[in-house]
């Protein structure tokens, strides 16, 4: 990987392999994510999207390969080095992962309190600015249990951007939301990219969202990245698996009758 490439790419993944016990979840994944762009990682359930995201976040040590994030290979880095990278990252988890014993504002302020020496007034103002960005200002003092699904995701997003990260990760931003709330979140992601110049990685299988927000798309299937490109390139792909995903066709499982019967009867 040349230095030029490292500088242009926020993330570079090379030959990434992840095994869980005997099962291979990711096989030789290679991917570059350019600075300041939105990369959507799409694929069917069980394709390995979440495992790839966990490797990017440093939550899962890969079996082999490298994951360069902002110039640091977090696959081989120490926890201290990984944490230096993490301070420049924000993550919005699928279920929000808000701390249930803290109010929305306290959740958002946590990273500021832990990593900066800002005074209380500044922390409060910064919290309100981020809450305002995600249209959550009135919910400042609510507890996570009092929020709807959409509000939870927006609060999680506010928490993710409180440190003005260079990189933002989103796990299934529109999963479980009604179409209009999902569209609001999509718009918010685009606004964040444009206003804060963030590199954003979104893991999702919601087609409507994907084509609305993506600058680049990586399509995953069975632990492999089978295609990368712009939304136009992916739409024009002749790969039958990608066309199946885009046209919402059910997966074909080709099993002969004898094998199928053996599976049902347990070989009796």
């Amino acid at each position: 990987m040349s230095t030029d490439n490292s500088q242009r790419n926020a993330i570079s993944i090379r030959n990434l392999v992840v095994d869980y016990g005997q099962r291979r979840i990711l096989s030789d994944v290679n991917l570059d994510i350019p600075m300041g762009q939105i990369m959507v990682i799409m694929g069917q359930s069980g394709a390995g999207k979440t495992t790839l995201l966990r490797c990017l976040l440093g939550l899962k040590k890969p079996t082999s390969g490298s994951v360069h994030i902002l110039g640091t290979d977090i696959a081989s880095a120490s926890l201290r080095e990984i944490n230096k990278v993490r301070i420049q990252m924000g993550v919005a988890f699928q279920g929000g992962a808000l701390f249930s014993s803290m109010s929305v504002a306290e959740n958002i302020q946590l990273a500021l309190r832990e990593h900066t020496n800002l005074d209380e007034k500044t922390i409060e103002i910064m919290t309100r600015i981020k809450l305002d960005m995600v249209n959550m200002l009135p919910a400042e003092h609510l507890m996570p249990a009092e929020l709807s699904g959409g509000m939870t995701k927006r609060a999680a997003l506010a928490r993710a951007i409180i440190m003005d990260p260079k990189l933002l990760f989103f796990d299934e931003p529109s999963a479980g939301l009604d179409p209009s709330t999902a569209a609001e979140l999509d718009q918010l992601i685009i606004t964040l990219k444009n206003t804060m110049r963030m590199t954003i990685v979104v893991v999702t299988h919601e087609l409507d969202s994907i084509f609305k927000i993506a600058d680049h798309i990586a399509v995953m299937s069975n632990g492999l990245i089978i295609e990368t490109g712009t939304p136009q390139q992916i739409t024009a792909s002749t790969n039958p698996e990608i066309q199946g995903m885009l046209n919402r066709k059910p997966r074909e499982t080709i099993v002969d009758t004898d094998t199928h019967l053996r599976r049902l009867t347990g070989g009796v």
Binding site: V91, A97, F99, H115
Partner: protein
């Protein structure tokens, strides 16, 4: 036969792994406690949860156990014409054994179970992952305050338990059976030595550390056990495990300390 041996082997390996993880967590947390920033508020908050909110339970159970002890000892001592020793009997049993053990078991039931459930739920709802992604050490942020609070709260609660249990015994001896007050009090003060008080306190510090450590570790590492992917059922299962393991640890270490000291 072979299957049974395999099963026993699997249980032994899993227990060793759990024990290793638990003590590894202890080392990590103590190391992280030494690193700045040092914050008192989270410890105070946990002391309120583990200590202050257990106070009613400790007082009620302490008085009751003291009264039961007074009753049983009186019946036994009366047969030998040695009712004057009632104060000594109650005090020695409470301060050396029952105080630390019963307090720890009460804390396990009230606070230990909820510590495990809280950490287990945080694990399965990705709150622990969220902390790691914010470059905040879950060991320092979540575990350390609980561990320090357990270490400090259990001895304090033990002192309260001892005091109210002695009062329970006094009430039965003096008010129910009409023993002279001086006889009960003198018996007690003559029998108790500094070494007994110290033994009780040493036990309570060790028990406090053990129960909070086991309860924290079971919840924090719930994703690594068999119950890891079982959601609510998994949390309930590790919570039960934590209570059982902590109780056994208290009783077994009570025996060990008693034998060694």
């Amino acid at each position: 036969m072979l299957k049974s041996i395999e099963n026993i082997g699997a249980i032994v390996i899993s227990s060793l792994e759990q024990t290793g993880r638990t003590f590894n967590l202890l080392l990590i947390v103590f190391w992280e406690l030494l690193q700045p920033p040092y914050r008192l508020y989270p410890i105070v908050r946990q002391m309120y949860f583990i200590g202050a909110r257990s106070l009613t339970l400790i007082i009620v159970s302490g008085v009751t156990i003291g009264m039961v002890l007074g009753l049983q000892f009186y019946n036994i001592l009366e047969r030998f014409g040695a009712v004057d020793l009632l104060g000594a009997g109650v005090a020695l049993s409470v301060i050396r054994e029952l105080g630390p053990v019963m307090t720890s078991l009460m804390v396990v039931g009230r606070a230990g179970s909820s510590i495990t459930a809280e950490l287990g739920i945080m694990r399965i709802t990705e709150q622990v992952d969220a902390l790691e992604c914010m470059a905040i050490s879950p060991g320092k942020f979540l575990i350390a305050p609980k561990l320090v609070a357990g270490l400090l709260s259990v001895p304090l609660l033990t002192m309260v338990f001892d005091f109210v249990a002695l009062f329970g015994g006094y009430f039965v001896g003096v008010y129910m059976f009409g023993l002279p007050e001086g006889s009960y009090m003198n018996g007690m003060t003559d029998a108790i030595e500094w070494v007994d008080v110290r033994l009780g306190l040493v036990k309570s510090v060790i028990f406090g550390l053990l129960i909070t450590l086991i309860c924290c570790a079971r919840g924090f590492y719930m994703h690594l056990g068999k119950a890891g992917s079982q959601g609510a059922e998994g949390v309930s299962s590790v919570t039960t495990d934590a209570v059982v393991m902590s109780s056994i640890a208290v009783l077994f270490s009570d025996f060990l300390i008693g034998a060694l000291i």
